[in-house]
């Protein structure tokens, strides 16, 4: 076993919660608004089943191969050569995904807070920090996530409560102006986030209480849905039709808070939430990439790969997109439903699951024939 640490099912759920929500609460409202208009709060409901599906498939595969991660059982299912190939594709997608996350982090910090700081310093610091956490192993990341969660919820609810004086119900009206379609269209963008739940196939083998893995994953999906709905509702009630004019509406909304003229400029709160969440998110993907690479190469230990992989995703993260127009192009492709996360989170596991199922069926039939 390459990873000696164990995490509980609850810790895994929290880990996944952070991995999805960290970037989600900031960028989802404005990206979804383009399609869904004032119905953005309905969209998470439509996207939620995809999250449940990816958790379900990952868990089903896990029950077939309880001690292996996807990199290992793809070889069992498809044979060594095809399995290695599939694992390679999967790893490439994960590398890309991790680098895009790091890019997002760097871009946001530079554009909102530190406009003159070179990006490689911001990204380098984050990658170094994550490298320490990943080097510590899954247990360390799991505990970190568990530690962050109360602070996260406290700050999140403080922001929501402080925004209450500025809400106006009529900004949400009319509900479903053009029927269901806009909110369903808006939910396509959300698939990017919900498909990332598929990554639990890297964590399920390391649970202390495996039978609770699915329950905890599903619960995490539901809490994510709820958090996104709450964020979207509050954003639409505060900003209404102006939502799409902000890159990160929650950030702008927190800037907008002003209670009795002295409680204002609270954007540091959002930044704290977001930094903690993004740190966990990058750790989760960084860890998955490192573990996956080590397993793909059949190494006995993944620790030696932490720093090189960090260098790699850091460099690719620096250069993922050169300017905001390229990034917008990327997110436009994503909002049409063509996204890498969907491929590695849902499509590949689903494919593996069907192949495994068919093979099992055949083995079962052969057995039956023999018995006859």
């Amino acid at each position: 076993m390459i990873e000696k640490g164990k995490i509980s099912a609850l810790q895994m759920g929290i880990l996944m919660y952070h991995a999805i929500i960290a970037t989600g609460i900031l960028f989802i409202p404005s990206t979804v608004y383009e399609a869904a208009k004032q119905d953005i709060w309905i969209s998470p409901i439509w996207a939620c089943p995809l999250g449940l599906l990816s958790v379900y498939i990952a868990y089903k595969l896990h029950t077939l191969y309880p001690n292996n991660t996807i990199i290992q059982y793809s070889e069992h299912i498809l044979g060594t050569l095809l399995g290695k190939l599939l694992g390679f594709v999967l790893l490439l997608l994960l590398y890309t995904s991790a680098s895009v996350m790091i890019w997002q982090y760097g871009e946001f910090v530079v554009s909102e807070f530190l406009p003159h700081t070179p990006k490689f310093v911001i990204i380098g610091m984050m990658v170094l920090l994550c490298a320490f956490a990943v080097h510590g192993g899954l247990e360390v990341i799991g505990r970190l996530a568990e530690m962050v969660v109360p602070i996260f919820f406290l700050l999140f609810f403080i922001i929501i409560i402080l925004l209450l004086p500025d809400i106006e119900i009529k900004r949400m009206l009319p509900v479903m102006e053009n029927g269901m379609m806009p909110s369903i269209k808006g939910s396509v963008t959300l698939y990017t986030w919900f498909a990332q739940f598929g990554i639990i196939y890297f964590f399920l083998p390391f649970l202390t209480n495996r039978e609770k893995g699915m329950k905890s994953g599903m619960f995490s999906v539901l809490i994510v849905t709820f958090t996104l709905m709450l964020t979207n509702i509050i954003i639409i009630l505060v900003f209404g039709n102006v939502t799409e004019n902000f890159n990160a509406p929650l950030m702008s909304a927190t800037r907008y808070i002003s209670i009795a003229e002295f409680l204002s400029h609270l954007e540091a709160l959002v930044m704290a939430i977001w930094l903690a969440g993004t740190f966990i998110k990058i750790c989760v993907f960084y860890y998955a990439v490192v573990l996956g690479t080590a397993q793909w190469l059949n190494l006995s230990n993944y620790h030696s790969l932490v720093l090189p992989v960090g260098l790699l995703i850091g460099v690719f993260g620096m250069q993922a997109f050169l300017n905001s127009a390229e990034a917008a192009e990327h997110f436009r492709i994503v909002s049409q439903g063509f996204m890498d996360t969907l491929v590695y989170g849902v499509i590949i596991p689903m494919f593996l699951f069907f192949v495994a199922y068919i093979r099992k069926l055949r083995i079962f039939k052969q057995k039956g024939r023999r018995e006859r």
Partner: protein, 384 residues
């Protein structure tokens, strides 16, 4: 082994010491409290910043005009350019310190600039991460620079006067965010407070006065097309359900004097109705007032007189609303009273066809009033 550890340690220290790129020391900053935007004769933009100078720092260190009268400690500086950023660049060359925009709370736009369009100019304030969405926006009759140059007798700076005036909500109060929302709204019409310089009292310096809000400017698609008086502005506030302060004076026909009442609570509800091809709007107003002056010989505690007074009040409010409607709907034909938005919210499916020619159909909306006015109290006593 120890050697590698030392090298590693030094490497990390180098990395960590790269912080502090974006530090800003307060004594390297100038805090801008108000911005004035003017259009010069040559079509350029002139940006005037009002900088609050901390006391002790005598405020004239920098070639700006030091305003030292009374308790005022502000510095004015202007820059010109083809666009706001260019003008600010020009401004930067005249300022020894960096400008901090995050405390900019008043944005004054002069009338000429507003007539050519404010949307493009305000874009700067939205894109820049520092200025706040809660800054108040005004349109000035004369040059914004002249308004910024005033030395109010009590407040610290001219922009502070404007902020306090806006906050009192007697007339329009529009923040940058409200303006964004109006610009993006269904009708594309917006309304902004209009300010003018109050003539100084006799014997005072010509600059020792304040700017005050006396009218409202009406904009369509970001271009100013006209103004309405303060009385009609209150009518618009009634329609928009934003009325906070209002005094109504009635002169009952049977009585021989005036009775003044002060608004305690006012609530407006717009109820749209689509009747075939005809658009109808019922304006439901509920208001509670207190009597503050009675110059008649009426005994207001008399039930009958009380009823009559409430009726008078309702009539007076209706008159004001009708006048507003006449001006806004029939003359200017600009939907600043949220009719379009209300139709959209109540009849989203039919709105799509109405929206196309809303500009033509808005003047033909039939409006009926349902006003329920009640007078609750008559003050703590009365003159014998």
């Amino acid at each position: 082994m120890r050697c590698t550890k030392v090298i590693y340690f030094i490497g990390i220290i180098f990395f960590l010491l790269t912080g502090c790129w974006d530090r800003k020391e307060t004594n390297d900053l100038w805090v801008v409290t108000g911005v004035g935007l003017d259009q010069t004769k040559g079509g350029e933009v002139e940006v005037t910043v009002e900088i609050h100078s901390p006391s002790g720092n005598e405020g004239d260190g920098a070639g700006g005009e030091g305003n030292q009268a009374g308790g005022n400690k502000t510095i004015l500086q202007t820059g010109k350019g083809v666009s706001i950023p260019k003008a600010i660049e020009d401004l930067d060359t005249k300022l020894p310190r960096e400008i901090l925009w995050s405390h900019t709370e008043a944005i004054v736009i002069n009338k000429e600039l507003a007539e050519t369009g404010i949307r493009e100019e305000l874009d700067f304030f939205i894109r820049h991460p520092e200025p706040r969405l809660r800054s108040y926006v005004f349109i000035s009759e004369g040059n914004a620079k002249d308004i910024m140059a005033l030395l109010p007798p009590l407040e610290r700076s001219s922009s502070e006067v404007l902020i306090e005036l806006a906050k009192s909500e007697i007339l329009m109060k529009v923040t940058l965010f409200d303006l964004m929302e109006m610009l993006k709204g269904e009708s594309g019409a917006s309304i902004l407070p209009m300010i003018d310089i109050l003539p100084p009292e006799e014997g005072k310096q010509p600059l020792e006065t304040i700017a005050y809000i006396n009218r409202s400017a009406i904009l369509e698609h970001g271009r100013m097309i006209g103004t309405i008086t303060d009385r009609l502005t209150r009518g618009v506030l009634w329609f928009r359900n934003e009325i906070k302060e209002s005094t109504v004076t009635v002169k009952p026909e049977e009585a021989d004097g005036l009775i003044s009442m002060k608004l305690i609570k006012g609530r407006t509800e717009l109820i749209p109705k689509i009747d075939g091809n005809q658009l109808k709007m019922t304006v439901k107003v509920e208001t509670i007032d207190d009597v503050i002056q009675n110059k008649t010989n009426w005994d207001l505690k008399n039930m009958e007189k009380h009823k009559m007074l409430e009726k008078e009040l309702a009539q007076k409010i209706e008159m004001r609303l009708t006048d507003t409607l006449e001006m806004v709907q029939k003359e200017m034909e600009v939907d600043i009273i949220d009719f379009g938005e209300t139709f959209r919210q109540k009849h989203p499916d039919k709105w799509k066809s109405i929206k196309r020619d809303w500009k033509e159909r808005f003047p033909s909306v039939e409006v009926t009033f349902e006003i329920k006015a009640s007078v609750l109290r008559t003050g703590q006593g009365s003159i014998p």
